[in-house]
């Protein structure tokens, strides 16, 4: 009797398990598709997830698994998985996209765009064109970069120094930094200006009317290039920015939040870190970069969503890309606070500004910046990416240390750029 009962229980359990499996299987076979999406920026994860949630609500048969890989491991992991013919269905790409296109790892999106009548006019043209390679469009833009200046208004108030005005110029910046320096404690830092070649020096060169590369050749030896180098080194030599050799572990965002730093050039991808700081509204005010000879500019780069050529669900992947870069997707992403939308929609920019409303003057500063930007050297000329570590360590390091003149530095920069462009 006992044996029979136990057998019955076992049979019943097995039947139940089998029917559950059958139910799961029937739901599965009803057309559920699992897609993976790989990104690198932890600050943007919340915004991306928000957009994904909305996409899944509209497409209940498509499940998205979002994978955020630390930025310094992103390409290593991507290379390993794509090289093995696997990898995520959809992913972010940046300046390195051309290498992936050359390696045949990305799916051309031209036909998908054409079939769905997607207008690329809805996106920043500079970013769209970057991913038009070998006659095909490989990516749809998701965000772009813009550098603005942020100052700690509370700190200026405490020091009794008049803060910078939205229409300020380079000389104003130097004057204000000197005033701050004179009034604050010696261990504090008045100013952070990006001293790297690829961002700070190149931007200032462009603002001075020069170029970094012209006719596929390095032209930093021009008057504008040399002047830009001298101007930024001047900030260091006057003690207005931290000595470059002491800056390798200096973080301008945390220094602004702690009040150690009075004002800083901050890229758009870091603005959300400031707006999320536990400080009263309006502590941070945003203005455009200071003008030189009446003009200003900052470098930009843009990220796109691209599709894995080996994706088993290309139609669904395209659906996801289209949604994430649409006005609705861009707005939801921007509500997360990080990643300035590359979608030209006013609603997307408004959502980004609203998500960062603790930062005063943000909208005006961005509007004054976006149209004035130029494509970052490594973005427009991806071949120069390989030269950057050498430029930073072997050329810019000795220049800021004072062992090499600006003219010789500019010449070395041209040599390394030309070598990389060959």
């Amino acid at each position: 009797m006992f044996t029979t009962s136990r057998r019955n229980i076992m049979l019943g359990t097995a039947a139940l398990a089998f029917s559950s499996l059958a139910t799961i299987n029937s739901a599965w076979s009803a057309g559920d598709v699992n897609l993976s999406l790989m990104i690198w920026d932890p600050a943007q994860k919340a915004g991306v997830q928000k957009a994904i949630d909305a996409f899944q609500a509209e497409n209940p048969n498509i499940k998205i698994s979002l994978v955020q890989v630390p930025p310094d491991q992103y390409y290593t992991k991507l290379d390993a998985s794509l090289g093995a013919g696997e990898g995520p269905d959809v992913m972010w790409q940046s300046s390195k996209a051309s290498y992936y296109v050359d390696g045949g790892a990305l799916e051309p999106l031209t036909n998908y765009i054409k079939n769905d009548n997607l207008s690329l006019d809805a996106y920043n043209k500079k970013i769209v064109d970057l991913y038009h390679l070998d006659g095909e469009q490989y990516g749809v833009p998701k965000d772009m970069d813009a550098w603005t200046f942020v100052y700690n208004a509370e700190k200026f108030k405490k020091l009794g120094v008049e803060p910078p005005k939205p229409d300020w110029a380079w000389d104003d910046m130097v004057r204000i930094a000197k005033e701050v320096k004179a009034k604050q404690t010696a261990t504090d830092v008045p100013l952070y200006y990006n001293f790297s070649f690829n961002n700070g020096v190149a931007s200032l060169t462009h603002a001075l009317g020069g170029k970094v590369i012209d006719g596929n050749k390095g032209v930093m030896s021009s008057a504008a290039g040399i002047k830009a180098l001298e101007m930024i080194k001047g900030l260091q030599d006057d003690g207005l920015i931290l000595k470059v050799s002491d800056s390798s572990d200096f973080n301008p965002v945390t220094s602004l939040i702690s009040g150690k730093l009075a004002m800083a050039a901050i890229p758009s991808w870091n603005l959300s870190l400031l707006s999320k700081a536990d400080l009263p509204d309006g502590t941070f005010q945003v203005i455009r970069m200071p003008s030189v000879n009446g003009s200003w500019t900052t470098d930009t780069n843009g990220l796109v969503y691209v599709m894995n050529v080996n994706s088993k669900h290309k139609d669904e992947s395209w659906k996801l890309i289209k949604f994430m870069t649409s006005e609705k997707g861009a707005v939801l992403h921007a509500e997360g606070g990080a990643g300035l939308p590359a979608n030209n929609s006013k609603a997307a920019l408004a959502a980004f500004v609203k998500a960062n409303e603790k930062l005063g003057g943000l909208e005006a500063a961005l509007l004054n910046t976006i149209d004035k930007s130029y494509l970052r050297t490594t973005t427009q000329y991806p071949k120069t990416l390989t030269a950057m570590p050498k430029i930073s360590a072997s050329v810019m390091g000795p220049f800021y240390a004072g062992t090499v003149s600006a003219a010789d530095t500019a010449k070395k920069l041209d040599d390394l750029l030309n070598e990389a462009l060959r």
Binding site: T76, L82, G83, K96, Y99, S247, K260, M388, A393, S394
Partner: protein, 322 residues
């Protein structure tokens, strides 16, 4: 000779019988099972060591990226090795760290091993402290050291400041980077050598010390005339393994000077393995050249090991039996 002749005279064969294994016999089945147990290990060795090593050699003659077939370029990558200023910097730093950290590891581990010889209050705590770096995650230790030496907020500079000294830019100067990296490497590497040297000290016969004491030798004399010479086999092992380990230095410099930052200080800490990693996994389309750099490192380690093995004949005493 005598014993062999005796055995032969007695009719016994000194060599084991070599009968062929019969298919299906017990011995055959036992041998098969034995070899089956070896399959995972041999397969792992074949795929992850021998195949990978051979593939790396082939890769060094190609131009290769993450995707697509590698393109044969002959000796181009090896020619480039001769004309690469970054490789010279990486080689200089690698040798520099080895030259500083290997003696550091030997001295610290020897001191710890000596102290472990004595019985004193808190000796178990001391032993735990000595072995702590070996059981802690190296990444965590390196990051903690990074924070300690941080220029603006680090405890070390705060201590300098509190005694009126000028804070130092630890990661902004060659001296600073060299000092921090060497300290970390020594700290991460001294535990196991200390245990090896301690074990080596246990093998030194106590009667040698007793005889020396009767002859009036003090502790210092006993250390230099008995401990050190009789410890040379262990010391040699420690020096050889530490040198090879430090020539492959990567984690400390990678975590302190990450490649995404393009820091102006990278050249102060760039080692050969870091350079290889950058070329192979951060830069694009440089895997062929990275393979050539890795083979250059192999030759360097091989050369240093040969020199050390030659020196062993002169300086290492294996006792009367050895």
């Amino acid at each position: 000779m005598t014993s062999t002749s005796t055995l032969r005279l007695n009719g016994a064969d000194p060599t084991p019988s070599r009968r062929p294994l019969r298919l299906g016999s017990l011995k055959w089945r036992q041998a098969t099972i034995g070899y089956l147990f070896l399959v995972p290990l041999i397969a792992g060795l074949l795929i992850f060591r021998f195949y990978a090593f051979g593939y790396n050699i082939w890769l060094s003659f190609t131009k290769a990226g993450a995707f697509g077939p590698p393109r044969f370029v002959g000796l181009d990558n090896y020619r480039r090795l001769l004309d690469d200023s970054q490789l010279v910097i990486a080689l200089y730093n690698t040798v520099k760290f080895a030259a500083i950290a290997v003696p550091g590891v030997v001295v610290v581990s020897l001191l710890c091993a000596l102290l472990m010889q004595y019985r004193f209050r808190g000796e178990s705590v001391f032993r735990a402290i000595v072995f702590l770096p070996a059981v802690c995650l190296p990444t965590a230790i390196i990051l903690v050291f990074g924070w300690l030496f941080q220029t603006q907020y680090g405890l070390v500079n705060a201590a300098f400041h509190s005694v009126g000294a000028e804070p130092m830019s630890w990661f902004g100067s060659e001296t600073g980077v060299t000092a921090v990296v060497s300290i970390i490497v020594v700290y991460l590497s001294f535990s196991v050598p200390a245990i090896i040297l301690y074990a080596g000290m246990q093998d030194i016969p106590s009667d040698v010390y007793e005889a020396a004491m009767l002859d009036g030798a003090g502790p210092v004399r006993r250390f230099f005339s008995i401990t050190l010479p009789l410890l040379t086999p262990s010391l040699f092992f420690v020096i050889l393994t530490s040198t090879i380990g430090i020539l492959k230095l990567f984690d400390a410099v990678y975590l302190l000077l990450p490649p995404v930052d393009h820091s102006v200080s990278t050249n102060y800490g760039l080692t050969l393995v870091y350079y290889y990693y950058y070329l192979a996994f951060v830069d694009a389309g440089q895997r062929g050249y990275a393979a050539a750099v890795s083979l250059f490192l192999l030759l360097l380690i091989l050369g240093v090991s040969i020199v050390l093995l030659r020196l062993q004949r002169r300086f290492v005493h294996y006792g009367e039996d050895g």
